[in-house]
């Protein structure tokens, strides 16, 4: 490359590109990539200069195979983020082979296994500027590994979720070794006790975000709560504290906080900590006047006194009380006390009545997001109050509010024109309601599953006005046909995710029209018996970004569809093939997709154990669901080999059931179940 002739050649090939400053070129490439992620690939293949420019431009490297990292890092010298989440197995040797990569600042090993302390040592040595490290789900992660991680002195963000073998010793190493730590997740690190946390609070004064979810179980937490809770609370810079499922925290621990709590705390999540009562909440409110977000889901019944105490937190913007029981007037006092509230979540709450909710929302003029999922007592009255008093709502989730009528639902579209996210699953929505919703032009996510009364006509209204729609859920909308899907596909070119499961009328025509949505990455057509391989091939060739595909019970789909997928859908990560007419050939061709992570292969008549194991041997799956019958048919040592490569087997034992229930019958049955 250094010879003059080659240099000359390079100039001749792309004189314009050569003269362009890298900064400008990168801006261009950014814009191009935003439009079509695959464009960069084509650009890189245009010429050597383009190839080099693209290599310099790339910041994120998402590797399929860890053992090729050295080559990849040599090519992409400017990469700052290294994402290994697609490598189910990253060995110590692969990490040891890394040469020094000063540009790498973030490494994601959250879904990888197989590496130990030696590998981490090599990684830390190779990446001197490492600031972000994600080691979540490291079930093999031990204190020795933590001691190696502690050598990355610049580390600022570290996730150790579910590193259940981690003990105080490892945490102590990290606390001493990484003084710049700003974010730390110790979720499910059940080996950590108060001593490690105490040391952490002492050494890492810069901590801003700390996740201690599920570390303080009831029995062992006495020491933690007593000894280190105050120390953590006193961390000067702590802004976010997540304490989900910390049953050890009780009122006594919270009342002791009174005056000695850091004033910087902005977000507190204590959901599922069921030993907290209104007394503890009161002391939290007293101790943390600067809170912006408070999550007390599944904690304790909400009493009027508790809700009125929220007025001590002047700036409170987000309040989540999912699954709480509201005592008399509890909700009303929230309306009185939390005037600045922007987001309120009341999903699955009992005791939410029309009068209370109407009163509350009438006071909460700033509300942008409201979640009233499964509040089964509310009627049109509430909805009228919500829509009239909060016209600026951005997000409304009201799945399964069964008493709200179709007329009431029309109010949403008429009044809340700023809506971006709407969940009306399992409601009495009809085409009129959809027509009204066409007023919400900013709508990007629309979930109208199990709304049996909507038809193609309603969807046409949506498609005409909601061109920004990214996600639509039409689960078990039995009334829609190819025409409606075609409307959506034509009207919403930005569509990324669509769920058409159990829309039994759909045929290949729907898929053909959907193949024009080039950004589509999630397609669920479970239980559409009229869809065939021809339609799937259209999707495979058209939607090249497809990463998640559910074709369970699409009986017509056979090996041909799989071969198309294997040739064109290289982004595919997850696929459900159950009940399809796919045989060994289809499976093996599928297995050539490098990035494939999850596969569900239950009740596939055409698959033999040999074909199955051949496919599994080839592809680097992370998780595979198989029917239990295969367990005895597949040779055990083969299973072991596949498991050693990072794959997890899940054995399903469900009865073979081909018949598809009509949507209305299914809804009736599920409602009956609910009543029982």
């Amino acid at each position: 490359m250094a010879t003059p002739t080659q240099h000359h050649k390079r100039r001749r090939l792309s004189p314009l590109l050569h003269d362009l400053a890298d900064e400008l070129l990168f801006v261009i490439l950014d814009r191009v990539a935003a439009d079509d992620p695959r464009a960069l690939k084509s650009f890189a293949l245009a010429s050597r200069a383009c190839h080099a420019a693209e290599a310099r431009h790339r910041r994120l490297l998402r590797a399929f195979r860890a053992d090729l990292l050295p080559a990849a890092l040599a090519r992409y010298s400017a990469v700052s983020r290294l994402d290994l989440s697609l490598c189910p197995r990253v060995t110590d040797a692969a990490l040891a082979a890394l040469s020094t990569a000063p540009s790498v600042s973030a490494v994601d090993l959250s879904r990888s296994r197989g590496f130990g302390a030696a590998g981490l040592a090599a990684l830390v040595a190779a990446c001197p500027n490492l600031t972000d490290l994600d080691l979540s789900n490291g079930l093999d992660f031990t204190d020795a590994g933590a001691a190696e991680v502690a050598k990355a002195r610049r580390l600022q963000r570290l996730s150790l979720s579910r590193c259940k073998q981690l003990t105080d010793m490892g945490l102590g190493c990290i606390a001493v070794g990484c003084p710049d730590l700003r974010e730390l997740s110790l979720k499910w690190c059940i080996g950590v006790t108060h001593m490690g946390l105490d040391l952490l609070a002492l050494k890492c004064k810069k901590l801003k975000i700390l996740d201690l979810s599920y570390t303080m179980e009831e029995k062992i937490a006495v020491q933690i709560v007593k000894n280190c809770f105050p120390a953590i609370m006193k961390l000067q810079n702590l802004e976010v504290l997540i304490l989900v499922g910390c049953n050890g925290i009780d009122d006594d621990a919270l009342t002791s906080l009174d005056q000695e709590c850091s004033k910087s705390l902005q977000v507190l999540d204590m959901s599922n900590s069921y030993n907290v009562t209104h007394v503890g909440v009161l002391s939290v409110v007293n101790a943390m006047p600067n809170l912006l977000e408070l999550n007390l889901s599944y904690c304790c019944p909400v009493t009027p006194s508790m809700s009125s105490s929220f007025k001590m937190i002047h700036k409170l913007q987000t309040l989540k009380l999912d699954g709480c029981q509201f005592m008399a007037d509890g909700l009303k006092s929230i309306g009185k006390s939390c005037v600045s509230l922007r987001e309120l979540s009341l999903s699955k709450c009992s005791g939410v009545t029309d009068t209370d909710l109407s009163f509350a929302v009438s006071r909460l003029k700033n509300l942008l997001k409201l979640d009233i999922t499964c509040c089964r007592k509310i009627t049109d009255v509430s909805l009228a109050a919500i829509t009239s008093s909060c016209p600026s709502l951005i997000s409304l989730r009201m799945e399964s509010c069964s008493l709200v009528s179709s007329v009431g639902l029309q109010l949403i579209g008429k009044r809340c024109s700023h809506l971006e996210e709407l969940d009306l699953t399992d409601n009495d929505l009809d085409d009129e309601g959809l027509k009204a919703l066409s007023g919400c032009r900013k709508l990007s996510s629309l979930k109208i599953g199990i709304c049996l009364r909507i038809s193609d006509e309603g969807l046409s209204h949506i498609s005409k006005s909601c061109s920004d729609l990214r996600e639509i859920d039409l689960y078990r909308c039995g009334g829609i046909s190819d025409e409606g899907v075609t409307h959506i596909a034509q009207g919403c070119p930005m569509l990324e995710s669509i769920n058409l499961s159990y829309c039994t009328k759909l045929t290949d025509h729907s898929l053909r029209s959907l193949s024009k949505c080039i950004k589509l990455n999630t397609l669920e057509i479970r239980g559409c018996p009229m869809v065939s391989s021809a339609g799937l091939s259209e999707i495979a060739t058209g939607c090249r970004l497809l990463s998640k595909l559910d074709i369970k019970k699409c009986f017509e789909i056979n090996d041909l569809g799989m071969i198309f997928l294997s040739q064109f859908s290289h982004s595919l990560r997850q696929i459900n093939l159950s009940y399809c007419s796919v045989s060994d050939i289809g499976l093996i061709s599928l297995s050539s997709i490098c990035g494939l992570q999850n596969m569900t292969i239950v009740h596939l008549a055409g698959v033999t154990p040999n074909g199955l194991i051949a496919a599994l041997m080839v592809c680097g799956l992370r998780k595979v669901k198989l029917h239990e019958a295969f367990k005895s048919m597949v040779p055990l040592h083969m299973v072991k080999v596949v498991e050693a490569r990072g794959c997890v087997f899940q054995w399903i034992n469900k009865p073979y059931q081909v018949a598809l229930q009509p949507c209305d019958l299914w809804k009736q049955q599920s409602q009956d179940l609910l009543v029982q």
């Binding site: 960069l40 110590d92 040891a96 197989g114 204190d143």
Partner: protein, 480 residues
Amino acid sequence: MDRDQMNPIRDQPPNLRSMNPLCYQFMAEDALLGMGMQQQQLPSASIRHMDWSPDTMLGNLTFIEEKIRQVKDVIHAMAGRSSATQGELAAQQQQQLVNADLTCLIVQLISTAGSLLPSLKNSSFLSGAPPAAGTGQAVSLAGESSSSVRNGVSKEGDMGSPDYEELFKGWTNGAMEECIGGGGVIAGEEQDAMLDAFGVDGETPLPPPPESYQVLQLEEDEILAPHTHFCSICGKGFKRDANLRMHMRGHGDEYKSAAALAKPPPSADAGEEQERRYSCPFAGCKRNRLHKSFLPLKTILCVKNHYKRSHCEKRHTCGRCGAKKFSVMADLKTHEKHCGRNRWLCSCGTSFSRKDKLFAHVALFQGHTPALPPPPTSTATQAADDPATTARASAPSSGHQQEPAGAASFMWGTSSCHGDDAFLDVKDIGGGDGDGFFSAANLGSIDFGFGHLDAFAVDHSLAMLLPSEQFTNAQESEER
């Protein structure tokens, strides 16, 4: 280090050492305090022959040797000086010194030889008469010995130095009654010699100390002497007189009486005496009375332990960790109780028996961090590292890497089946959205991979079987 290796007894595992009765003499007295009945536990007749240990003997002989050398030096000096005119007093003092040393020598020799005896009952080696016949003699001898020097001292108190008497009192204070040799051996002149050895000059009032106590100083020999109590019949040495009394039972029934076995009553005038404190013979030590800020030692036992700990080599190495060394056996025993168990280490090398202590330490000192014990599988990780480097070295030629030997179980899965993907991935690795690289050739190679599942596919054969253009493409891209 070298000296440790020379002394085999220290290399024995601790449990073996504790089984060997003779090793008790390496233990400090405090370790034995709780085992007053130690001698009882040994069936003396049957196990006596096992008491003999070459190491102990060697130690004793070395001690005797050194002592002889010292005496020789003194006599040499006396011979050299005899020509010169000297004060009568000085010559007499030197004579006394020699006498004392010789006495000490004899006592040690007897003790050493006594332990050599396989069984006293079966041999008439020492007494010249079978014990059954010579009981009377034994009684008389033992009577002197058991009445101990203290009686002698109290009798001869006016003619001997009071210091000597006080010294013995002090030894009793230290729960360690001194009983050097048979009572008959120690004569008045020897007392004077002892007096010299213990440094009477110590009587002169020291600058700082309050007058509430007297300061005595033992010499190194006395401190390090393996035994302080000796059997008057067989000469066997003991550390504690209780053990001696137990031993005496073997010499006849008269020693089995309650009176003979009872602990000798403390002297009546003990309470009236001034308190005693001890000085370390090591010059410059803070425990030495000449030191500016002298801190006296309370008991003989303290002297012994202090001298061993501070001024002797740490000869006892922990067999378990190999790192910790002690000069006092009891310290080693204490350490071994906790060694390897509940070790909480700090990066500075300090270890703690409790985790909270370690964390308090780490919290206190900047830069200290909890240290993990060395992993037992360190060799395994090294083994995993080495193939990694070799694999890296071979990677450019073969086109793809091998898994390390440690991961052999899945190696064939990867190398045989994914061999061709390796090349594709070099290009696809970035976006994961590559297209056009999958073809029938790719599918074919998968079949190949599975076909050779049982046999290991060698890299080069794989490369040859690949479509040639793809292979060269891949190599090019890798080189780029």
